[in-house]
Amino acid sequence: MTSASSGLRVERLAKSFGGVHVFEDLSIEVPPARVTACIGPNGAGKTTLINIICGVLRADRGQVLLDGRPLDGIQPHETVARGIGRTFQDVRILPLLTALENVLVAIPSQRGERLRDLFLPWRGVGAEEQRNRERALALLEAVGLAPVAARPAGELPFGQQKLLALVRLVATGARTLLLDEPATGIEAELHPRIVTLIRRLVRDEGKAVLVVEHNMDVVREVADHVAVLHGTVIASGPADTVLKDERVIREYLGRLYA
């Protein structure tokens, strides 16, 4: 399933803000059917990496390849159409929309969102919406959010909002998922739900997942592959190996996560 050119590949990326180098010569691979975790201290450029992949920021050097083709000049709203979706550290759910509406709005190319189709009864806007509602509800159900489907998302506790953001991302149908701290700052009781959801997406649907995460317990449970970021990738490999690597633990993880 994984060929040399499939999935997302970041090649020799460099980025600095003013005179501050965030990273240099950063290369990382996010192949399908694998969870790649990116860890490292604050300011190592983990979120910057996601922002560059999604076209929010431009890299100084290097390139991002999707299935072997460069994603040059892509705009943030175009990434989903190319199969790349992201979540945000600060969730950015739509607070006044209900949880269900948050998921519904993520479903791509709906006829009911287009003016030209809205007033043509034969375009089946209502039937399509009905199907989408059932699908969105099923997605919420799978993570235990069905009971709060009708509540405004802004009223949900932070942990549920993070879970909702994840479900919303799944609803976009993106094949490559970039998750910016999906478990950070939420109740430990919700961690298993997040881990299960991510593992299921990878196992059942072959999604390529890049997780940026501070919580090392979650990283241990969810990641197949780990890359440690500190100016560049300083260690990379299977999760068991990297997370046991004496040097990584001593120099980088030890002082941060001990």
């Binding site: 943030p76 950015r92 709005v105 969102e113 003016l115």
Partner: protein
């Protein structure tokens, strides 16, 4: 009385149009009176100078105003909320200037009159029936838009553009589309306004009118179609009711202004989302 009811209908269409962009999409317009003028002048000019049947000038005004609205909003969409609002204010000034200096007028007056009505529309009652019908259609269209999946996207544009973008949807396209629809409805209101008053001049389409619309939807309720109907209905009824109270006109004016202002202040303090609104700008 029928004349008043017809006017209320015109204001309802205008309020619904403004609420689509302000309340649902978060695009603060302070220039809708300019578009109302475009609609009114389009209908009047087409009828008076080109002999177009008045009934046909209504859709014509919709198309022309929608086009003007779309063309004028595109350069403004990069601006943040406050600056966008200020720019639409500028737009209102520019359009007013065009009506004043370029707009045709009847010799010896500041404005334009002489719309020729087709058979059957000569009575106030018939014009009211037509206006009511068109108003119902406009409200129906707006209702369909906001209750459809499109309404959900518009509210997302209003609440968090970057989140919508991350979900693969471009806020710009939706903003332009809804601004165009709002322009079309405003154009329809303009065409009806011209024939209801039988006389239009540039002073009808100043900032005052734009602000009045904001008051109507603010009081009725942002992001609410029912609120856009209730707002103009209540406020116009309130204003007009003073004429029947028997208060001397030299007193009625100031009293009415004062009460009006106090009510507005009270509403903004205690019920910012309006009487039946679903949104306030705090969130």
């Amino acid at each position: 009385m029928l004349f008043l009811a017809t006017l209320i209908c015109v204001w309802i269409i205008l309020s619904v149009a403004a609420n689509l962009v302000v309340g649902y999409t978060g695009l603060m317009s302070m220039g809708h009176a300019g578009y109302l003028g475009v609609g009114a002048y389009t209908a009047a000019v087409a009828n008076i100078f080109l002999g177009v049947n008045y009934l046909l000038t209504i859709p014509l005004a919709a198309v022309v105003t929608a086009a003007v609205a779309v063309v004028t909003v595109i350069p403004l969409l990069r601006l943040g909320t406050f600056y966008f609002a200020l720019a639409t204010l500028g737009l209102n000034f520019v359009l007013f200037d065009i009506f004043l200096n370029v707009g045709p007028r009847v010799e010896g007056t500041e404005g334009l009159f002489g719309i020729v009505l087709p058979a059957g529309l000569e009575t106030t009652g018939a014009r009211f029936a037509l206006t009511l019908l068109v108003t119902a259609a406009c409200v129906g269209i707006a209702w369909r838009l906001v209750t459809a999946p499109l309404g959900r996207v518009l509210r997302s544009v209003r609440d968090r553009e970057d989140a919508l973008r991350a979900l693969g949807k471009n806020p710009r396209g939706y903003q332009i589309a809804i601004w165009g629809v709002s322009g079309a409805l405003t154009g329809v209101a303009g065409a009806l306004y011209a024939v209801t008053l039988f006389y239009i001049d540039p002073t009808l389409f100043t900032l005052n009118t734009s602000i009045l619309v904001l008051v109507y939807i603010g009081v009725g309720g942002l992001a609410s179609i029912a609120g856009s109907i209730l707002g103009p209905l209540l406020l116009i009824a309130f204003t007009e009711s003073f004429r029947f109270l028997g208060v001397h006109s030299s007193l009625a004016g100031p009293i009415q202004q004062g009460i009006y202002g106090l009510l507005l202040i009270g509403l903004m303090i205690y019920r910012r989302q309006g009487l039946i609104g679903k949104y306030d700008f705090r969130e």
